[in-house]
Point group: C2
Chain length 330, copies 2
């Protein structure tokens, strides 16, 4: 780059060679080429997604770098899971301030290596640039899905039940804990909520197994209500959600028992990276069985109706006010 | 995102819907899904690359936004060209400061639309986030190449000639002009150099046609010498370049005639996005013919030898000192 003299360039090459080349798979050509090659298997389609995270916006600047790397990777893998796809490869672009030196990058790469092994994926390429602002980390994930089996957002139909995997709101509470909230909460609950914020679990196995069962699916990043709105809008349907049916972790339940209004914040907080999907009512047994197979709760929380928008009802079926604390998306 | 309340999220959706959804191709699913689908054609391999640009580093913050978009796209297409690949799709991640409002984004999207048409590609997806720092624009480009026809950096052999497309150093001089250098230069020469800095021309047609001819290829982004070093290192060979043979534009020649030392700066300045490749000496006629077909000079500038590193020689074949002004890469 003309305006960026050679020192920075050499730094980039060294960084790539030292920290990132060991992460490259065979298609990545050792990160020594202009681009990487991907084989396509017969009967499969490739699935691609890109998500970025920014220091101070999507993670706290002092978060451990290995956890930042794993979160970056996992939020992208979660998008693949929401299509029912199996992850294969990724490309990584880092824009880092000078304050993040080799130690930070080494820890960041260690986090990537750990999750690569866990998810059976490899690095294909990317870029490494400098910024005078906060770190901007951008990742493109590539997966595959059998042709015709990809699960879109647009397939929800009136009469479908709405399901969600795992528990909701833990990441929202984890960030609050990191910021000093809930000091009386038991240490193990605090740790669990923080872990849920820092290292989401992309539901890849579940996503793949929902092909042929789920009619519409999304992963929860913006918040359960907002993401269900995306399904409704794309599918041109409405949804009714029973607030009391939201699956909560033990830690979240302790907080909600003390402050019942928190429940609606959990449905709007975001960053859950659970799968939210709709399926015909006749699939309930199959989904319950799947829950046992993948070892994860899958909970029916409402239903799809004709119309538009998402309505919340309380345990007695009465509408819940949309201007309650924490409810910020409308 | 938990820590980024709904205002920004809604802003993101509106931005995507308004400015970027019109750029999406059929695989991009209207940018309304978690990920995009790509079909793979039989006998083809997909080629992927990612490059980022940062305001104030890779472009000037006041550069016209449509030109910034086109540069971002083109530097990535240039990487595909260097593999001999044909571009198909791209994903875009923007991290923008609040100071860049809808007008900037509209112009940026207009630039993308213009170049999409020119290069026959479409947008598959991406992300849009906020940063408190300078804009960081990251793009992943996806192309295809016939299986077995991808051109790598590692194929150079002793005895090959080294060739370069177009002219060298114009972008380096264009940035200097933008910064106030060469005030006596004729306005049309100034404009041409600036254009070369702001809107590079990825040599896609030439890259595809060099499959089966070029043994090793790279696009010049770091500078002709530095990028030839990459070929030499990956191919485990040396290169000798005759400095006087570097192809110069009329504008660059005017400057070099006045300041001969500038020539070596042009070979190291970078941002040319020309193709640099090696080919057996017996291919020279074929390459000359190709030059006529694509309407672009293709110039032999040296040869590959056993050994390592890049040596420069003057018109009399004598070594040129490596500590001349502008020569910063070693």
């Amino acid at each position: 780059m003309t305006s960026d003299p050679s020192g920075a360039s050499l730094g980039e090459f060294e960084r790539i060679r030292h920290f990132f080349a060991p992460l490259a798979g065979p298609g990545g050509l050792g990160l020594l080429d202009d681009a990487a090659l991907i084989d396509c298997r017969a009967g499969q389609r490739l699935v691609v997604t890109a998500d970025a995270i920014v220091a101070g916006v999507h993670y706290l600047p002092n978060d451990p770098p290995d956890l930042v790397a794993r979160k970056l990777l996992r939020v992208n893998l979660s998008d693949l899971a929401a299509m029912g796809a199996r992850p294969l490869h990724y490309l990584l672009t880092t824009a880092l301030p000078a304050s993040l030196g080799p130690d930070w990058i080494a820890e960041f790469a260690r986090g990537l290596a750990e999750d690569q092994r866990r998810f059976g994926i490899d690095l294909l390429g990317g870029d490494s640039v400098a910024t005078s602002g906060p770190a901007v980390l951008s990742l493109t994930a590539i997966g595959e899905v059998a042709a015709g089996m990809g699960i879109r957002r647009s397939g929800a139909r009136a009469g479908d039940l709405v399901w969600v995997s795992g528990t909701i709101g833990d990441a929202f509470l984890g960030l609050a804990v990191l910021r000093g909230a809930y000091p009386q909460l038991a240490p193990e609950h605090r740790a669990e909520l923080i872990r849920r914020f820092q290292v989401p679990n992309p539901r890849i196995d579940l996503g793949c197994r929902l092909a042929g069962i789920a009619r519409a699916m999304i992963d929860i990043s913006d918040g359960l209500i907002a993401d269900l709105e995306h399904i409704c809008e794309t599918s041109r349907v409405a949804a009714v959600i029973e607030l009391a049916s939201l699956p909560l972790s033990t830690a979240a339940r302790v907080i909600v028992d003390r402050e019942p209004d928190t429940r609606i914040a959990l449905a709007t907080g975001g960053d859950d990276y659970e799968l939210l999907f709709t399926a015909p009512a006749g699939s309930s047994k199959e989904i319950d069985d799947l829950s046992s197979v993948v070892g994860l709760p899958i909970t029916p929380i409402g239903r799809i109706e004709p119309g538009e928008g998402v309505r919340l009802v309380n345990a007695r079926g009465q509408p819940t006010s949309v201007d309650e604390p924490g409810y910020r998306h409308f």
